[in-house]
Every structure is written in C-alpha cells, then in structure tokens.
Amino acid sequence: MTPGLVLAAQRGDTMAMNDLLTELTPYLGRICGPIALDSGPDAVQEALIAIFRHLPDLREPEALHGWARAIAVREAVRIARRDGRSSPAELDGLPSPQDVERAVDIRDVLERLPPEHRAVLVLRDLEGLPEEAAARLLRVPSGTVKSRLHRARASFRRAWQG
C-alpha cells in the first residue's frame, strides 16, 4: 500500500477508494472470517463502511492496516453478536474433549467460542499482537485477554492434538 493511495482517497478520488477497497478486502476477510463466521461477509461490508466513512480522520496513512484492523475486529464482534449465531460467552460452555475430537477444522472449534474469544485468538495468534495491544483494541483489561486466550487456546490445542 502506498500512502499516496490513501491520500488520494482522502481527497475524494473514488478510483483511489476503489483501489483501496481492493487492497483492504482480503485482509479484512481474514480478520472478520474467524470472528463473525457465517456473518463474515456482512462484517467485512460493515467494517469497510466504517473505514471509508472515517478515512478522512486517519492522520497517518502508514497506520492504515492497524487502524482498519481495529475497526474490523470490533465490527466483526458486533455483527456476530447481532446475528446471534454464537453461544453466550459462558466459559463453562467451551467445547468438551469429545466435541473437539469430532472437529475437522478450526471452524468447528471457533463455533463453540463466543465472538469476543474468537477476536482474542485472531489478534494474538493470527495477527501476533501483544497482550496489552489486544486488550486496548478490544477495550477490556489485559487480564481478560489473558484468560480468554488461555481458554480458547486450550480448546484449540485439544482440537489439534485430537
């Protein structure tokens, strides 16, 4: 991504906005997919709407991806909650070893986690964000990220080993 593309889009060049959309969409799809699951396409759409509406506020074009990631994670959690396809965020409801053994891919495990826990997994395991940064982005205490991650990872580990 060239900062020039962001600046042109901020100035109102819709061809630049179109190109920026092309560039951001695969990245947002990787962020929103694991968090919003079946609602992933809606989450990507809503994330892009929020990103483009607020694009004039982005002061540092180089920060585009981190800024877009934060918006996408929050939108994906919101859309997943709205569509109610996930179980409530009860940690006791995490997958049993028997369930996990039947899991054929990551999706099976993700479906058993609430969206907030999926968001932690995406930020820490996919994006490699430090705990503090993930907590800031999700607007929760660092300890919450830690406990969510511990539980989510435990279910993943069982799935991988199963």
Binding site: L21, G29, I49, L55
Partner: protein, 154 residues
C-alpha cells in the same frame, strides 16, 4: 487446518463504497437470470451500457493502462462528452469522470442475480454526488437492465 476467510461479493462491495459517497443511493434488484447472462449485458460497456444507463448514449473503450485500468470516452444523451477511468471485472464496474460516477455490481443469488447500481452527477473534485434524482435514475437503470436481459424492448 485453515482459518475461515470471509468473502466480499461485488454487491456488498458496492454498498461499502457508496456509503462513503454522500448523496449516493444504491438501487438493488434481483433479475431472474443466471449471472453470466446478466453480466453479458451489464458488463458490455460499448454495446449495452447505453441501453440501460439513463444518461449514457455511447461509450467507447479507448485504451488499457499498464495497471489494467481502462479509459473510456462517453457521450451523454444531451451531447456532453466525458473521459472515464474504468475498473471493469466480472460482477464489478466502477467508472469515474470529473463530473460523473457510475457503479454497477452483480452477484449470483438463489433466485437469479442480484444487481446493484449507484452513480450520478459528481460534486466536482469530491467523493460526493448531487443527490437529486439519483434514486429514480438508479431504479430506472436496473429496470431497463432487467428488461434488456429478458430480451424485451427497453
């Protein structure tokens, strides 16, 4: 094992881009025909575009730039000429001139093909449209497109 990835179909893409353009309206319509049949009409800028886009009489593709972007010359029903930058791909067309914007998208749905259109007169130099008449123009363009796909006179 792989992480799930979310796709963005062209109609959702159009909604996202149009949402950033004050004054833009997205007209949508399901055409009961396969995607290939719909896009054979919608994506044929030189032969078909003028049959359904209300203000467009003739459009000529001029040249392709090294980045794959097309350049088109258009003439409106009122005789005005415009030079457009064009991004044309299956299910997606985005065109911008100094004074006009046109966006068209299509994606397969169980009932046929969902098509979406946006566009209008641009506020010069800005990502904004003069809002008057965009809703009626968009709905009319898609009604004409549906009729064209069905082989009816438009």
């Amino acid at each position: 094992m792989s992480w799930p990835v979310a796709d963005l179909d062209p109609v959702r893409r159009l909604r996202a881009l149009a949402a950033a353009i004050p004054g833009a309206y997205v007209a949508e319509r399901v055409i009961p025909a396969p995607f290939a049949a719909v896009w054979a009409v919608a994506g044929d800028l030189e032969k078909e575009f003028g049959t359904f886009e209300p203000d467009m009489r003739r459009l000529t593709l001029d040249s392709a730039r090294p980045d794959g972007r097309l350049v088109a010359r258009a003439r409106s029903r009122y005789g005005m000429r415009a030079r457009f930058d064009v991004d044309l791909r299956p299910g997606w067309c985005w065109m911008q001139s100094r004074f006009l914007l046109v966006g068209l998208a299509a994606t397969a749905v169980p009932e046929g093909t969902l098509v979406a259109q946006t566009g209008g007169v641009r506020v010069p130099g800005r990502a904004a449209l003069v809002p008057w008449g965009v809703r009626a123009a968009g709905d009319r363009a898609l009604a004409r497109l549906a009729a064209r796909v069905a082989g009816r006179p438009v």
